[in-house]
Structures are given as C-alpha cells and as structure tokens.
Symmetry: C7
Subunit: 94 residues, 7 copies
C-alpha cells in the first residue's frame, strides 16, 4: 500500500477510452491528458510552523478534477497512480 | 456537479458574439479572449496556517471580470467552464 | 458598474492631449504611456490570514500617479478603464 | 503636490554638474547616473497584516544616497522627480 | 555513521535489478531512475522561527517513494546513499 | 557623513597591495576582488512587521569578510566605500 | 581568527588524497569536489523577527557532509576555508 505524505493524495487515473474505427484501435487525442481521477489515499496534511497538522478537505473515494500535467506518475504493483498535492486539485466531481 | 476547492470559483464563460457579414460568420477578434463570466460555484476558501478557513467574497450568480488568459478551461457534461482562483478575479460586474 | 475586488482600484485613464501642428493631428510621444488617472472605484481591501480586511488608503475621486505599464485595461460600456493593485499606485496628485 | 503612498519617498534628483573644457560643455560620464537626491515628500509607511502602519525612518529635507537605476522617474509641473521605495535608499548624507 | 540534519532523511537506494538475456547483463531502462529506498537515518526536524523543532513523520526502516531526480547522492564507506528533504518524499510504501 | 539605513553597513575596502616586479607596478589578479573591509558606519537595523527594530550584531571598527561582488560601491568626498547588507557579511576578522 | 556571522559555519576542507601511479602524482577526479570538512567555527545563529537568536545544532570539531559547490571559499593566513550556511550542511559524519 502507498501512504501519501503531507498534503498529498494518490489517485487512479481514468484513462480516456480508446476509440475503434473498423477494428483499428485509435488512441484518443494525445494532446489532452486525462484530468479526472479517483482518490485512493489521502495524506495526513501539512504540518505548520506551530507543529499543527492541517488535514485535507479531500476524502478517499472522491472523484477529482486536477490540472493537466500536475503530479508525479508512479507505478506500484503493476498499477499506475498519480501523486498530487492538494493545491493541484481544482474541484470535486460530485 | 463540480465543486471547486479552496479559493477557486467556477464560471461559465460568456463567448463574444459572432459577427455576420453577408451571411458569412466572422469570429470576433481572436486576440481578445472573453473576460467576463457568471459564477456557477464557489469554493469554501483557503485554509490558513492556523487552520482557519477564509471564505471568498464572491457569490454564485455574480458576473465577474477576470484577467485575460487566467484560469484553467475544463469540459464537464458537454459544457465548458473556467476554474479561476479568487485572486484572478478583478471586479464584479453589477 | 464595476466593483473592484481586494486591493484593487479602477481608474479612468487621462489620455495625454493630442498636439496639432498646422492642422495635422500629432499623437504625443507613443513611448510615454499616460501615468495619471482618476479613481472611480475602490476595492474593500485584501483579507489577511487572520480573516481581517485591510482597507485601502485610497479614495474615489483622487487623482493618482501609477507605474507605466501597470494594471489591466478593461472596456466596459464603451469606456476604457485601468484596474490597478494599490501597490502599483505611486502617489496621490493633490 | 505629489503625496507618495506606502513606503515610498519622492526625491529631487541632483544632476551631476556639467564640466566645461575650453567653453565646450561636456556631459559628465553618461554611464554614472546621479545617486543622491533631496527628499521632498515621505509616504505614511507600509501597512502590515495586522493593520499597523510602519512609519519610515526618513524625513523631508534629508539628502539620501540611493541605488543606481532604482526608482521611477516622474515629471510633475515641469520638474523631474524620482519615486523610490525606502528599501532602495542606502544611506542618509549628513 | 551519517546523521542527517534538519528535515533530511538518508535512504539506501534500491537499484532496479539487472535483467539477463542469454547470459548478457542488460542494464534496466537508464531513463528511469530508482524511486524507492529504505530510510537508514532521520534528522531531528527543522527549527521554526519560534525555536521549536518540528519532528519528521518518517521513521528509520520505512520504505519510501520519492521524486525522481530528488536529493543528493553521497558515498560513505563504499556504500551509496541518497540524502533527501522530507518534502521530496511522496509516500511510504507499506 | 554617510549614515547607512536599515540592515546596512558601510565599509572602507582594503585594496589588495600592488606587486612590483623590477620597478613595474603589477596589479594583483584582477579576477579576485577584495573581500575584507573595515566597518565605518552601521545602520539601526531592519524594522519588522511588529514595528520592532532588530539591531545589527556588527560594530564600527570591525574588520569583516564579505562575499565577492556583494554590495554597492559609492564615492563620497573622494573616498570609496562599499554599502553592504548584513546578510552579505560572512565573518568578522578578529 | 574568523568568526562566522548568523547561521554560518567555517570548515577546513578535506582535500581528497592524490593518487600516485608509478611515481606520477595524479589528481583525483577533478569533477568531484570534496564534500566533507571539519568545523572550525560556528556562528551565533540567525536572528528571527522577534529578535530571538536560533542557535545552530552544529558544533566546532564536527566533521560534516555538505552539498557539492555550496559555500564560499576564503583564504585566511595562508589556509583555505569554506564558509557555509547551516542549510547547506547535509549530515554530520560521526
């Protein structure tokens, strides 16, 4: 299991579906990287100078919208994840 | 529904109207991106180091003026939105 | 009406007068952008981390001197305005 | 009258005297911009996050030494002034 | 022994295993630098302006995931280590 | 007299001595600018956001070591001085 | 004697030993600058905005590991030293 640190969350990226034309698999527009994902783990929050921990407003299971190109891609046990800072999450998709 | 995080708002962008000359549709000046929009959702505000949440001064339904090129464009259920940080909003159009 | 947000003010820009030589209208030196304007609207002030609002020291009706190239130009109901942060205002012209 | 805002002062720049060689007026070394001036107006000081105003340690009438290339040149009623932030003033010339 | 300072940790880098094809040792993809390591030493934490020390949330023996290219490589008694700031650690691998 | 402002000190620069070879004066290595000087004046210290003044730990008469290329050179009554921020002073030469 | 200011320490750099091959002295790999040194002097610590001094966690006599290329080289009474900020020290070599 991956436990994110500080103000980070880990999301599973929702790959845009491939389009098939006459049996040929076409990748969707390569320029548009996926922008939504499902949160699988949430960090404990950043620690301020007073030693206080500011918890995240995000929860496991939520689908979120994040900035294109934000975050770091990691592979773990054959699955791909994206590690994002909370500030890179723009909105919750409800 | 999209729920913006932190000090973000989501606006529907008001596209400048197309001009028609002799039946030919002319795009308005491409150099001037739209600068006004209507707020459809408001974040809960940024959380300070003391754990306090500073609410936004903006409200749903307000028409706002924002910096050209500010924000991130997102598509959601076939509609286009712009996610903006409060600091990118210059004025309320009353 | 435009209501500026945070530490912003809106000014009407005083265009330098055109000079006429023998009936020919000469634009004044194009390199020198106007640097004074009259304040038409003042924001409520920035909100600090303590949730306090720091009001501006500027008032509607004051003529101010501002940094060349500062601010964002906006058009509203056929008039041109400049939206400036208080920090871009150098002095009040009394 | 020009009233500087925040931590700004306004100085009259002391132009280095022209040197005359055999009746020919020679500009002094153009690479060396004047570095001293007399303060004609002092701002009320910057306002901190607590809403406190930190007054400047500079006074009207003082001659000051400032960083080459610091400040913004303004013309006002046919006189040239330099608007400087306090931090650009290196020393008082006593 | 190396004792890291401030908010630093020292990790032993887990080199990706070499692949052998017909007896020939092949280096794994050189573009992908190792991203996990085991913590061998933890700093006492950064000291804030109040003189308080903020201890790290990481512990010796934990396996961590860190940003590619983060940290400084050091050699000590013939072993290679990576010195990382806590902020460069993305997650704990449990 | 020059009275430095804030966290500044004024030093007289100790020029490295010229070396003479067979009567010919050779400038010392031009790439190495002098790095020590004697403090002739000390500012009152920077003013914090609380309005407190933090006095400098440096005193007039001390010889100090400073970063190459740090500070601003000023001429005053035919003497050359260097105005330095306290942070540019690396050490006191005792 | 050199007394470092603020959060600085002064170290004597341990030059990597020269290797000799058949009587010929070979400089060690020039690309790898020495990374360890012995602390000969420690500053009193930085002064915070509250006027408090935050003492360093380092002590004279300790051998430290520091970032390649960090610090400023100074010569003093024919010896070479390196002046480093505490933040450039990665670890204590015990």
């Amino acid at each position: 299991m991956l436990k994110p640190l500080g103000d980070r969350v880990i999301v599973t990226v929702e790959e845009p579906e491939e389009q098939t034309v006459g049996g040929i698999v076409l990748a969707s527009n390569a320029k548009e990287k996926p922008q939504t994902g499902k949160i699988v783990a949430v960090g404990a929050g950043r620690v301020t100078d007073d030693g206080k921990q500011v918890p995240l407003s995000l929860k496991e299971g939520e689908t979120v919208l994040f900035d294109k190109y934000a975050g770091s891609e990691v592979k773990y046990e054959d699955a791909k994840y994206l590690v994002l800072h909370e500030k890179d999450i723009m909105a919750i998709v409800d």
